[in-house]
């Protein structure tokens, strides 16, 4: 039997159905309204003067989650890098290269994407946007460049790439610890330079996230020579 044809298996199916039943029963037992923490969160956001309540939750109230989340992302990058087979994966050229159309298009698009990424970071504090969105656009630009045959620029040594990947997290930790000097707690930004600090962190995070996404792509892409081994 081909391994692509799948035969339904009864026991796992039963388990999944039972799970569905468990979830269903739990959900149907809920009252139709439930505020959770919505009310105090909104009040808190208003008090601290952040217009977007979700941003307030992400960056302020539960900023610790976000710090660890950045750690998760960098960890995943490190993990994938540790699993790469080609030590030079980060500096290689992707097989094939680009035709004239893709090449020209990429060259035209890349600066615009850079601009969009920057914009997303800037609006992040008040509307939808932020480091993840910006980083995603930045990463996409990078991957596009790689796909069209560009390699890592010559000036970027291995050490420099590592710095770019880590700088977001390092600066984030630094900024998180900074309030400790003035008697605050971790991540308790002083109100006077709160905005600047967040912007600094977001900007560098965007850079690191973008670099992470490109690294993830490069580390797992097949090498130029001879494709993947069997």
């Amino acid at each position: 039997m081909s391994e692509h044809r799948h035969r339904t298996r009864l026991l796992p199916l039963t388990a999944a159905m039972l799970m569905l039943g468990v979830i269903g029963r739990a959900i149907l037992a809920l009252p139709t309204t439930g505020d959770g923490l919505a009310v105090p969160m909104r009040a808190g956001a208003e008090a601290s003067g952040i217009p977007n309540v979700i941003t307030a939750v992400l960056l302020d109230f539960r900023g610790y989650d976000t710090l660890l989340e950045i750690a998760v992302l960098m960890l995943a990058t490190v993990a994938v890098l540790s699993l790469r087979e080609d030590p030079a994966a980060l500096s290689r050229r992707i097989a094939g290269g680009a035709g004239p159309v893709l090449g020209t298009l990429t060259r035209a698009l890349a600066p615009i994407m850079l601009l969009v990424a920057g914009h997303l970071v800037l609006v992040g504090s008040s509307g939808p946007g932020g480091a993840f969105q910006g980083g995603a656009v930045l990463g996409a630009a990078g991957i596009l460049l790689m796909l069209s045959g560009y390699a890592r620029p010559a000036w970027a040594s291995r050490r420099a790439v590592r710095w770019v990947l880590a700088v977001g997290l390092i600066v984030f930790i630094g900024v998180a610890l900074y309030p400790l000097l003035s008697g605050g707690t971790l991540l308790q930004y002083p109100p006077e330079n709160r905005k600047d600090l967040i912007l600094l962190v977001e900007a560098l995070l965007t850079l690191s996230i973008g670099a992470s996404l490109v690294s993830l792509f490069l580390a797992s892409a097949s090498s130029t020579e001879g494709g993947g081994r069997r």
Partner: protein
Amino acid sequence: MTSYLIYVAGGALLYALGTYGLLARRHLIHKVISANLMGSGVFLILIGLGNRAEGGPDPVPQAMVLTGIVVTVALTALGLAIIKRYYSATGLTNLDDEPPAGERP
């Protein structure tokens, strides 16, 4: 008032579907996709249930989902990297820990 139930029910279905896939599908990438389905299911449930709040959706589940998505991305990236390396080391696309489906009694 109970429109949230549509999302929640959809989420629960996705979750169960993903569970079945993670448990029963043999191909390694199928399993990763199934786990992502489970994740999407939970996210839908979170968002859906968060919509029961009066005066606009509860921001906390939304923040949780955003964090959850990043974590899931990280897990997925790691999963794909391992699968790729495993494939190149063994040529296998499954865990090879049980007889093929056809040979089972």
